[in-house]
Homo-oligomer: 342 residues x 2
Amino acid sequence: MPVGTQGTVKTLSPQELKDAGVNILLGNTYHLYLRPGDERILRFGGLHRFMGWDGPILTDSGGFQVFSLNALRKIDDQGIVFRSHLDGSSHRFTPQKTIGIQRNLGSDIMMVLDECTPYPCDRDYAERSNERTLRCAQASAEYWQSSDPPDGYDQALFGIVQGSVYQDIREKSAKSLTELDFPGYAIGGLAVGEPAGERNRITDFCTDILPSDKPRYLMGVGTPVDILESVARGVDMFDCVIPTRNARNGTVYTADGKLIIKAGRYQDDQEPIDAGCDCYACRNFSRGYIRHLFNANEILGLRLASLHNVSFYMHLLNEARSRIEAGDFSSWSKDLANRWEE
Amino acid sequence: MPVGTQGTVKTLSPQELKDAGVNILLGNTYHLYLRPGDERILRFGGLHRFMGWDGPILTDSGGFQVFSLNALRKIDDQGIVFRSHLDGSSHRFTPQKTIGIQRNLGSDIMMVLDECTPYPCDRDYAERSNERTLRCAQASAEYWQSSDPPDGYDQALFGIVQGSVYQDIREKSAKSLTELDFPGYAIGGLAVGEPAGERNRITDFCTDILPSDKPRYLMGVGTPVDILESVARGVDMFDCVIPTRNARNGTVYTADGKLIIKAGRYQDDQEPIDAGCDCYACRNFSRGYIRHLFNANEILGLRLASLHNVSFYMHLLNEARSRIEAGDFSSWSKDLANRWEE
């Protein structure tokens, strides 16, 4: 899922996303709640109509931004109190409130409010935080069951496994959530600075417990290698700003690894970013041209790099699905990872 | 002609320009010469290939930027010496040199080097400057005749009428250039701060002299009203950054006049920018959404506003052509001007 923080995947149009093979987007509840406001978006007929995207949308709970933007003021069983990063105004997210906001947004998949523990996180805090997160999940599930979508379209709700790097806490989290019988499950609290080995260990552990007939979503991951390693461990869904953010910084992905398109070495390069890619950027423009656009601060450079990176990720995941069906995912993904490490 | 200063019409892709009905672009010789360099563009197969635009391109001579960017150091019969606004390096444009650069760029229409007099400009300076400009035009025409396009495609050369607001100098300029038998003629030295009445008076005067069977191009004009007033006076071609620059500042054009899409009054407006427009922005997005994108500093807002404004200009000029053929251009354009002034 490309990330559409503020009701747009940065630099790209809905048509371009569709052409790149994107079939589901992520929207950020925290940002949309603050600006332009979920009630305003409701008046526009929901986020799909507001942003002109007719495919599925998943919205997060808003909790992660409260932590990552240092907006947090207080956390307790009644939810989280935070200040807007825009104007300093004070707000409270409760389990019910974040579901209510996501109902207004009209997302197809809503996420429960949770506390994403930092890394490192001491065991005692992880345990107490997880208890809060579980009570929050329970309250969220109840509110979800007792409330209706404003436009009549079903809205699913996913639970989020927490527990930092502690297997017993993760186990308690995953099992408790499974009992609540959510339509899908996310693994949270990873991709927050821990080593890849830790992430893989916890991912492995969680997917072993979570039901295999429900979607499993690893939040905030990641690089192409991270994603393939997680797919190998049973993860079905991902969201990450890496393809679009890196693109805007001038880093683009190719079958042979990433390259810094801004670099002077590409100024005379007449090849496309990735000769094997069929995206609009690769079909029509050279590395040298895109390098020039970055060098001259032209927005079209950001657009072409973003479009290519999103297309690259979509191709990668489509190929992963084919390889899983063909039974050679493991060797294929190892080959790729080796090539990219060179 | 939308302006593609640095090898891209700001924020827009070639495909979008085509979809908006654009059939010729302007490229800026000064900018492209400095970055990425005309010789580099030649190695990429010319500006068309470099930027992925397969329609016609007109390039200016580079002289106007030397004046407007305050890069000028010295002007004489050997040309102009200037400093790069990028790195301060020193350069010289001669009549031959700017043709050579435009040959490397491979534009379909090249412009002669001229001196664009400021407004106001005293009579004595306008006269001396015009003599220089005419000698420059003569030298340019000779060099054009004796040099070849690098890729074998014909490259036309247009002369530029100068003379500030002085009719006798304008007359000398227009008649002398006509004797050189250029494939087309531009009217320069207007849209530099003079009142609209002065511009219209000089435009009228010049088009009466310039041959009616050759394209007449009014450089740097303008607003929709300016353009219609000039079409009425016999002008065939225009270039201006107004549609794209205004778009990036949040000003968009509609059949009922312009509006500041950033304004708070549009935050709940579910109508498109212009209900009568069939561009991608108007077919898919509301004023409220585009206002949100501007408010949140999202690039898609700049894109949609730019796309709409370019489409608006193209529709306006297409309609003007139809009205001329139908014989009711005058009443139609007066109605529009009245509506836009309200």
